[in-house]
Every structure is written in C-alpha cells, then in structure tokens.
Subunit: 146 residues, 2 copies
DNA sequence: TGATTAAAAGACATCAGACTCTTATTAGAG
DNA sequence: CTCTAATAAGAGTCTGATGTCTTTTAATCA
C-alpha cells in the first residue's frame, strides 16, 4: 500500500536479479520483464534510475545486463523508496493541514507520528538481503505471479 | 500522507462547516472554497459525493448551502476515506506481491499487517467530533492556511 | 408567478504517473 | 575494425486525478 508501481517493479526486479545472480552473472531487461510480467521499456527506465543511484550495475553489449552492486544486499529497502518515490510523502500531514508539526499539531498528529515511525522502521531495518531469507524457489514463484 | 487531495479538501470542508454551523445554519461552497483556499468547482463535486454518501446535507436556492447530517459528528473519519479514496489500497501488499496473504506472506507481510492495523485504527476510533475538541478558533486558523 | 440565488450536473482542460516505441550508444566477439 | 547484442535516452501515448467553465435544477422571496 501507498507506494508507486515503479517501486514495486523495481523491488521485484532487484530480488529477481539477486536470486538469478548465482546462476548466470548478469540478467537482461527482457528476461526480467518477461518473467515478472512487467512492461519492458518502463522497467528499463526504472532500472536506469537505480543504476544511477548505485544499487545496480549494468554493462551494455553482448553478455551485458544488470547485476547487483557489492553493498546492495546490505542496503535497507528504504533506499529504494527514496529513489523511486521520494521521502516527502512521509512528512505530509494526513489531514493535509499545511503547518502541522509538533508545535502546531493537527488533531491526529501524534497518533500518526507513531504510525509513520513504525512504517518507516519496517523499511529501514530490513535490507534486500533480509528479503531473500526465504527459500529462493518459493520467492521466485511469488515474484513471478502475473 | 498517502491520502488523495480530495480527502484533504473534503475533511477540511467538513470541519469548517462543523465550526461555522453554530453561527449561521448553512455554509456555501463559495465561502468554504475562499476561506480554505481550495478550488471551488472541484470542491463542489467532492461535496456532492459526500452528500450522496450521507455525511452532509444540502439545499439549493437562497439561504441554501451545506450542513452536517445528524450523526456526522459521531461518525469515524474512516468513513470519509471510504468515500473519497476507497479501502482497496489497505489490502495491497507493500512489495506488490500479488498473492501476498497470511498463508503465502511476502517477507514484510506480518510487520506491515501491524502497521496497517494501527493506521486504520487511528481513523476508525477518531470521529469528526473528536477532531473538533481543540479550541475552535485555533482549528479555524489551521484549516484556513494557504 | 417570476426573479434570484445556490447547488447539481456535465463537458472540457491540465497535469503527472504509467506505459510504448524508436533511435542512439556502448561494449564484446570474431 | 566491424558486426551485433544489449542498455541509454528521448519522444510520444494513455489514463486517472485534479481543476475549470457552463448549463440545469431547485428553493426562496417578492
């Protein structure tokens, strides 16, 4: 809930690459798009953003493709949220009061502070590596469903 | 965070009507739009939806305008979320795994269940009346900021 | 009843996110 | 060096949310 389709595509793409990386070194955009039932060209653009941001590497040409950067498995998932969706939304007041903050709180401010904190915490404490702890074949199935 | 502009406009509009209702019986769309710095015609459409859904009443003609339905102050705010945004988003998997559920959970499923529950709870236990407990003049200022 | 006032309704415009297609660019293989 | 496979990049389409404008309907009052 609450995150863009780009985030979902990117996350599933990264996990797919992570699982596949053991077998053959690089993964092509075509393969990811087909296996995950995701629009190919759109995924391509998102992957470019992620390469620029440093979570993925890519090489062109024959036998080219995408692969994980060295530190990616130890990177918290919130990093991807920053790349695809930005963090601004987490600062917004749920009631859309413009100057809502601790000193001038909306009626739900403090209750929502707590919810936000827990929400962000889920994405901050879990790394991409943590998401791979399940059986990899099970994970592949979950990623691939149409 | 996470809710549409329509929700924000509607909520502020309802609270404005609630505060004003003491003084003169009905409130015109023009007044609300001006005081809350919200696009008038767009707000009009949203208010119509809310009238249909039963949280507001309206009458046309001279001295017409919008006013609260009898039970509105005792209605939880989640009702408005249903009207403007729908509840589907709360069922979605954060990682966009299609068949994510308790039996076939994504790696973050149970942690997010908890976050969702708390989030929904804030909107379910707080009624529109609860949001009015602050000083009304302070609330008016908060609603009105550009 | 007729004039006036305000909401209801519908047509239209704009913008951003999602998605597609085409054309460069780059890097490896022979 | 040349060919080719694959990413990079950019223009363009589509759709839904947001926002505007105009016409219709209904209620009040003289």
């Amino acid at each position: 809930m609450f995150l863009s389709k780009s985030f979902g595509y990117a996350l599933r793409g990264i996990l797919y690459i992570a699982v596949m990386q053991d077998e053959h070194r690089k993964v092509q955009i075509d393969e990811i798009a087909t296996k995950l039932s995701v629009p190919k060209h759109f995924l391509g653009k998102i992957m470019q953003q992620i390469v620029k941001a440093g979570l993925l590497k890519s090489t062109k040409g024959p036998y080219g493709g995408f692969y994980l950067a060295a530190e990616t498995l130890n990177t918290p998932v919130i990093k991807l949220v920053e790349i695809t969706d930005g963090m601004e939304q987490f600062g917004m007041c749920v009631l859309s009061f413009k100057y809502c903050n601790g000193l001038n709180p909306c009626p739900l401010h403090f209750e929502m502070e707590d919810v936000k904190k827990n929400y962000l915490n889920v994405f901050s404490k879990n790394t991409f590596g943590d998401l791979l702890n399940d059986s990899k074949s099970d994970l592949l199935k979950s990623l691939a469903v149409i």
